[in-house]
Symmetry: C2
Subunit: 412 residues, 2 copies
C-alpha cells in the first residue's frame, strides 16, 4: 500500500516543535524536566488526541499513543523515538521519528488501513544524557537494562536525584512499573536521521539498519593543585588541565589505533575548575564516549585509554578517578524485519541500502524486548547535534512513507 504522506503538515509540526526551545532558534535545547521539555510533551499529546489515539504515560515519562487493532490481544507493533535535545542541537534528531510516526498513522487512517495488531507510538523519555549523564533513560528502564533502584538514585549536576525530580512530575509513579516483558511488543521500528554522511554521499533515500554500535561512557576526574597563574613556577605545578589535555589527545589516538575502522572515541565534555583566566586549573571533569559495532575493538580502545590515563596521572602527579558509567554491547536487528523494510522501500520505488548505526538509539535497548530495525534518512553533511542539522521535506516524506508502509505490513 502507498499511504499518502502530507509533507507540509508534517513539516509544520516539526517547525512548531523546534520553536519550543530553551535557546534562540534555530538552535534547539530541550533538557529533561525543563519547562520546554514539558511543553514539547504536551505538543505531542495534542497531536495524539487529534488523531484519536489512546494515551498513556508511564512512571518515568515515556509517552504511549495507541491505535488499537482489531485483535487487541496480540502484541502491538511499536514505533517512535525521542523529543529531548542536547544543548544547542537541531530540529530533526529524534523528532522526525516521533512526528513521522504520527503522520504515518494519520496517512494509514486516511488510506483506510485496518490494523490487526495495535500500533503504538512511543515518545521515549530522556534519550539524551544531558541531565543524568546516561542516555536512553526511558528505554533502559523499559527493557530492564537499568534497574529502577539504580535509576532512582541517579543525580544531576545540581545533586538532585531522578527520584526527587519524579515526585514533582504530573506522571510520577513507581519506577518498577515502567519495565515491560519480553514479547510485550511484536516489533519496534524507529525512523531517524542518519547522523552520518553515508546516505547523502551515496545519493540514497533510505538506510535500513541491521546493527547498532555499542556505546560506552567513561568519566574521568583529574585533581591537581590550583594556585595563582602568575605565582607558581612551572616545575612546581600539578595542572589538572595539562593532564586532561594529554588525555584528550590519547583518547583520539586510541580510537584511531584499533583494528576496526568503526571505532570512535570523543571527549565532548570538559569542565575546568575554577575556570578563571589567571588561575591554575585544580580540577577537570571529562566525559569520554567510545563506540563500535566490534565489541573487541571497543574493549581494546577503552583499555588503551585507561592505561594512557594512568600513565599521565602518575607522570604528572595528578590524581585521577576514572569510572565506566555504562558499556552496552552492540545490537543486532531482526533479519525478517530488515527484509520487510527493504520490501517497503522497494514497493515505494526508493533507493536504499542496509547499514549499521554508529549512533545509538532507544532501539539499542528495545532490541532486548522484541525484534527491531531502524529506518534512516539522509541528513546534510551527516551533521547532527548542532543547530544546522537538516533533512529536506522530501527526505523526511520518503522515510515517513516507508515507515507507514512497514507499519501496515507489520500490523496485518
Amino acid at each position: 500500500m502507498k499511504p499518502e504522506i502530507d509533507p507540509s503538515g508534517l513539516m509544520r509540526w516539526i517547525i512548531e516543535l523546534s520553536e519550543i526551545t530553551e535557546v534562540p532558534p534555530p538552535a534547539v535545547t530541550r533538557v529533561l524536566f525543563s519547562k520546554e521539555d514539558h511543553a514539547a510533551r504536551n505538543y505531542v499529546r495534542q497531536i495524539a488526541e487529534a488523531l484519536d489515539l489512546e494515551w498513556r504515560v508511564d512512571a518515568c515519562g515515556n509517552q504511549f499513543a495507541r491505535w488499537t487493532g482489531s485483535n487487541a490481544a496480540l502484541p502491538a507493533v511499536a514505533t517512535g523515538s525521542h523529543i529531548d535535545a542536547i544543548p544547542n542541537a537541531g530540529a530533526y534528531d529524534g523528532v522526525v521519528g516521533v512526528l513521522g510516526s504520527f503522520e504515518a498513522i494519520r496517512a494509514l487512517k486516511a488510506a483506510g488501513h485496518q490494523p490487526i495488531r495495535s500500533i503504538e507510538i512511543i515518545t521515549f523519555t530522556a534519550e539524551e544524557p544531558t541531565r543524568f549523564g546516561i542516555g536512553c533513560l526511558g528505554s533502559r528502564l523499559m527493557s530492564g537494562n537499568l534497574s529502577s533502584e539504580h535509576a532512582a538514585a541517579l543525580k544531576d549536576t545540581g545533586g538532585k536525584s531522578l527520584a526527587d525530580w519524579l515526585t514533582e512530575q504530573p506522571w510520577g509513579g513507581l519506577l518498577d512499573s515502567v519495565r515491560l516483558e519480553i514479547g510485550h511488543y511484536a516489533a519496534f521500528i524507529e525512523l531517524h536521521i542518519e547522523q552520518g554522511p553515508l546516505l547523502e554521499r551515496e545519493g540514497l533515500d533510505i538506510g535500513i539498519v541491521e546493527k547498532i554500535a555499542g556505546p560506552a561512557t567513561l568519566i574521568a576526574r583529574w585533581t591537581g593543585n590550583g594556585g595563582h597563574a602568575g605565582a607558581v613556577l612551572m616545575p612546581e605545578r600539578c595542572d589538572a588541565l595539562c593532564a586532561a589535555a594529554e588525555m584528550i589527545v590519547a583518547v583520539e589516538t586510541a580510537a584511531k589505533k584499533t583494528r576496526s575502522a568503526d571505532t570512535v572515541a570523543t571527549v565532548g565534555l570538559c569542565e575546568v575548575h575554577p575556570g578563571a583566566i589567571n588561575s591554575i586549573p585544580c580540577d577537570v571533569r571529562m566525559g569520554i564516549d567510545v563506540r563500535d559495532t566490534d565489541i573487541e575493538a571497543r574493549t581494546q580502545c577503552i583499555e588503551n585509554i585507561e592505561s594512557a590515563a594512568h600513565e599521565i596521572a602518575e607522570r604528572r602527579n595528578v590524581e585521577l578517578k576514572l569510572e565506566t558509567l555504562h558499556a552496552e554491547p552492540p545490537a543486532i536487528c531482526d533479519d525478517q524485519l530488515v527484509l520487510l523494510a527493504l520490501e517497503s522501500a522497494q514497493e515505494l520505488g526508493f533507493t536504499m541500502r542496509k547499514m549499521i548505526s554508529r549512533a545509538y538509539h532507544d532501539t539499542l535497548f528495545m532490541a532486548e524486548l522484541c525484534p527491531t530495525t531502524m529506518l534512516f534518512i539522509p541528513c546534510r553533511n551527516g551533521w547532527s547535534h548542532r543547530p544546522d542539522e537538516f533533512s529536506s521535506p522530501e527526505q523526511i516524506e520518503r522515510g515517513t512513507a516507508v515507515l507507514a508502509n512497514l507499519l501496515a505490513r507489520a500490523s496485518t
Copy 2:
C-alpha cells in the same frame, strides 16, 4: 615608630568580609557588580567612616579614604589593594592590603602620628579579570594605561558593556574623570600575600618587591566541525577540543623552554561548546596567561605559543582566532621606597628579603603614576586563588606593622 597593630580586630574584619560571598564559605567569590561586590564596598566604607576618613568614589568605582595631612597641598602617600575575588577564591588576596591599610591608619592615629602628607587608601575596582577578561580595570583607568573609550566598550560574557553596567551603579559618571596625573601621589605602597612559596620556604616575615613580572593575556578560539559523537568516523573529524588540547600542552612546553626560569604560562579558562558528552566539540575558547620579569623571554614564549597554535590549526584543519588581549611590560619599583621599606621592617625586628612579584597587581599600573613598592607576607604553600588560601594572624600583623611604619615615614 612602632604603631600597635590590633590583630584580633583586623582578623574580625577579614573574616566578616570573607562571609560576603556568592558561594558557600570558606570559598569566596565576589565578581564586579554582583550584590556581594556592592556589599563588600559598603563594608569598607563603614570602616572608613568609623575612622573618620574622607570618602570619595570615582566614576569606575575606585574607592578612596583619605586621612588629610597637615600640608594637604602636598601629593598624598597612597596605599590599598582590591576586594573583588575570582570564582572560588580565598579570603586574603587583596583583602589583606585593603583592611591592613585601614588597621595601619587606625594604629597610627592611636599612636598620635601627625602626617604632613595626606595618606589615602585606595580600594581598586575589579583587579580580577572575571567579568571583562581584563585585570586591574581601576588602576589601568587611573594611570591612563586603558583609555576610557576602550574601557567603556568592554563587554562581559553576557554581552553587556562596562558603559551599560556603569549607568546602573550609584557612582557611575564620566570615565574620563578617573585618570590621575603623574605626580598626583608621592608614592603607592601595596601590602599583599605573596601568592607564591618563597617567603614560607625561607622562613621570612616580609618580602619587599623591587620588580613585578609583566603579564600578557591571549585569547584563542578554535572552530572545528561538531556532530554526533557516534556517527562521525575519526578521519572525518575536525574536533576543536583535540586541537585545543594540543595547544594546552604546547603552552606549557613554551613556558618551560624559554631562557628564563621565571616564565610562566597557563591555560586557566577552557570553554567547550556544545559541551555534551555525546557531541563532538565544534568550538573551544581558551584564555592563555603568560608572565615574566624578563620581557624578552616572555616575547619568545608568546611567539612559540603562536607558532605552535598556527601549526596545530593548519595540520588539523581547524579554524583559529588568536588575539592578544593585553601585554604589559614589567614594572620596576622605586629604589628609595624599597630602601625605606627595608628600614621599616628592620626597625620592627622582622626578617625580610627583596624579591620579585610574579603575580601582577594594581601596583603594576600605579608605577606609571608614582614611585611604588609592595610588601609581601607569606601564605601557606604559596596557595592563592583557592578557598584554602591562608596567612596566619601573626603574618598579617607583621605585614600591617611594616606598612604602618612605612606610611609614617613616607608621610612625614
